[in-house]
Amino acid sequence: MSKKDQIDQILNELRTALPELKEIIVATPDGLPVAHVGGGDVATRLAAMAATAQGLGRRIAVTTQLGNLEEIVIRGDQAYFIVYAIGDRGILGLTTPAGSNLGLVRLEAQEYAKKLAEII
């Protein structure tokens, strides 16, 4: 199975584990889309924005002495956009509706980020 197929498979598993997820994006650290599950033609934009959030988040974490950046949560009144690092080689971004169980989303997303890190 190609790398891309393996990544797609993991994203589909994540989507099965958390069916409420609207978009799942895997991006390179410099903001190019690697894989996307979800509706609409948003992969390019989400990948770039995930990279920007990650880059800025890392910098804020350092400047304000938060330690290593673990996650970024952007909360709108209708949904969340959450970003995790996939090791230092990629970024995982998710959107999930307001009212989602964030604790569960965090647990699953971190686990899947680890799985992705083994492939990417």
Binding site: P29, D30, T44, T52, T63
Partner: protein
């Protein structure tokens, strides 16, 4: 006196982050990520660079943008309230001048501020001269300034020209 917000922009690899590192008198905020494309350097800016510089009686806040078009939402975010724009272009990469023009048009459509074009990499073997670049970009020649973003004395020249336009 109010600090002046200056946008430093231009295509990828032109030296925007380098310029801000060269000039800033305060600790630079940068947001580099490892590049996965062949862009001639190992890292690329994904959000912004920020530095400050005192020039005469003015305090300049320099905001560097990402160069790649997929980050155009950051051009939008950063250009809010800008009082001046420095567009950087490479003399040895005339193929990137159209992209540079697009960035400038994008930003000036949101922040109608004066701009200057800074031309770097003139020490390379095959280059376009600043006058040729001015002609291509349809800019008055006096707004196109040759400079070396690595050299603290030289790097300040296009900003000094920009200040003449903002606060004559």
């Amino acid at each position: 006196m109010e600090p002046l917000k200056i946008i430093v922009t231009g295509p990828v690899g032109v030296g925007k982050s380098t310029l801000i590192r060269t000039l800033s008198e305060t600790e630079v905020v940068d947001t580099d990520a490892k590049s996965t494309q062949e862009i001639g350097k190992p890292t690329t800016t994904v959000a912004l660079d920020h530095g400050t510089l005192r020039l005469g009686e003015h305090l300049l806040h320099l905001f560097g943008t990402p160069g790649q078009e997929r980050f155009d939402f950051m051009w939008d975010v950063l250009s809010e309230g800008a009082l001046g724009i420095l567009l950087m272009v490479r003399a040895d990469r005339p193929d990137t001048l159209s992209a540079a023009r697009r960035i400038l048009d994008f930003i000036t459509s949101r922040a109608p501020a004066p701009h200057v074009v800074g031309v770097s990499h003139l020490d390379q073997p095959e280059v376009w001269q600043p006058e040729e670049i001015a002609l291509f970009l349809n800019e008055p020649p006096e707004r196109v300034v040759a400079f070396d973003p690595r050299d603290p004395r030289d790097a300040v020249r296009p900003l000094a020209r920009l200040l003449e336009l903002i606060a004559p």
